[in-house]
């Protein structure tokens, strides 16, 4: 099976303190996984390494079958990766909601009309169309998260890295997010402390410790297990 991501014996340190030795992880094409672990164990650090924001101390990292040895290597895969920051404030590049959501599209050279249409649709899908003209800094925490998420989803990345996507979202919004993420036919890594939320989306849940990642199959997702059994390259929904 083709792999979106391969990590072999990755180790990382912050300020000289080793966070973990020997993280090994395979993420197949269109697989959805979750990573959980205590605060400060290095989950965000791991996502940043996958996104090419920092390099591991040692180990092998491959994205879409290409080895990533230097930060320059990531240039070729940059547009294929979407990243949702733990703190949404850090994500915004334009102060108006619709401009920020459209940013990646416009940066890729897509016409303004098409970008505007896609943006409107994306905001509609997330139920935040009324925020389109608002200034991002004046939004509530949950609204910011949704706008940031819209900015990630709209670029249709092949690999999505979501750092605590449910932070600050109310129950209804979390349900909506579950539905959206389930529908997306891409590789996704979610970091969250919210077990129930994860169990309704992902195929596998990894627990992070100093020794590495321990994966367990997620059996509590009936829909997912159904899709597994019938998996033949096309997704079948119930």
């Amino acid at each position: 099976m083709s792999c979106s991501l391969t990590m072999k014996n990755i180790s990382a340190a912050r300020n000289g303190v080793t966070l973990y030795n020997g993280i090994t992880l395979n993420l197949s094409h269109k697989e959805k996984i979750a990573i959980i672990g205590p605060n400060g164990c290095g989950k965000t650090t791991l996502l940043e390494m996958i996104a090419g924001l920092s390099l591991p101390q040692s180990g092998l990292l491959e994205l879409f079958h290409r080895p990533m040895r230097s930060l320059d290597d990531f240039k070729t895969v940059r547009t294929m990766i979407g990243y949702l920051f733990q703190d949404s404030d850090n994500q915004f590049l334009a102060p108006i909601v619709e401009d920020d959501v459209a940013f990646s599209l416009l940066a890729q050279g897509i016409s303004k009309e098409e970008a505007a249409l896609k943006t409107a649709m994306m905001l509609q899908d997330l139920g935040i169309a009324h925020l389109a003209k608002k200034v991002v800094y004046h939004l509530s925490g949950g609204e910011k998260k949704l706008v940031a998420l819209a900015g990630v989803l709209i670029a249709e990345p092949k690999l999505m890295l979501l750092d605590e996507p449910t932070n600050g979202l109310d129950n209804a919004m979390q349900q909506k997010l579950v539905a959206i993420l389930r529908k997306i036919d891409k590789s996704i890594i979610i970091v969250s402390h919210h077990r129930e939320f994860l169990e309704s989306i992902v195929d596998k849940i990894y627990t992070m410790t100093q020794e590495g990642l321990h994966g367990t199959f997620n059996a509590s997702n009936p829909q997912k297990s159904y899709i597994w059994r019938t998996y033949d390259g096309h997704e079948t929904t119930l």
Partner: protein
Amino acid sequence: MDQTSHPPITPCVALLLALVYGCTIALQTHMYVSMSLILFFLAWLKRRFLLIIFKRLVMLNTLIVFIALTLYWQHQEHLAGLMLLRSNLMLLCILLLFHGCNEFTIAIAMQRLALPHKITTLFFFTSKSIFLIRHELVLFKNTLRIRGFTPKTDLLSYKTLAGFIGTLVIKALERSVALQKAMLLRGFQGEIYTLSRRQSLSSNDAIATLLTLISLFWHQGYLL
């Protein structure tokens, strides 16, 4: 704040007017009453915000008055008056033109005037950083208030203040690192974009341009 309402003067025109007015006024050796003609029109357009704008002008004047007084004491009365008038005309013009425009609107206008992308993005991200640092300042003040801190002239007050300044520096640094990360991840190509359409020129723009030219070249009412 909503972006839907357009500013009375198109940002591109406002930038050009500010440039022409500012540069020409800066080179004048004599001042005339007629030079303030455009300001009256702009003040009328922004009549609802005049109080705020004048407060800003007064604040900005503290330094200018200080320099003017220094010149005055050195018996350069004409120069002192000239400096005071010139800088106030320029400041008031800029304040009136750009009040209510956010940094993004101005940056987009700069881009539309074909200024190099480096300059426009530098302008935009600098003003954004200033905005964020100001935001941190407000947050810190609120934290102090909520946690029952009253500034005194004791060691704790100074320590708290020093700690705050240190935190501000670190936060500014962290913000810039985060911004760089966001740029990398979101495919920043050295350009900023907007979905909003180019604002078409209005009659206000035409009147303002005409009045600016009259203000600058029709010298009436000698002041000094």
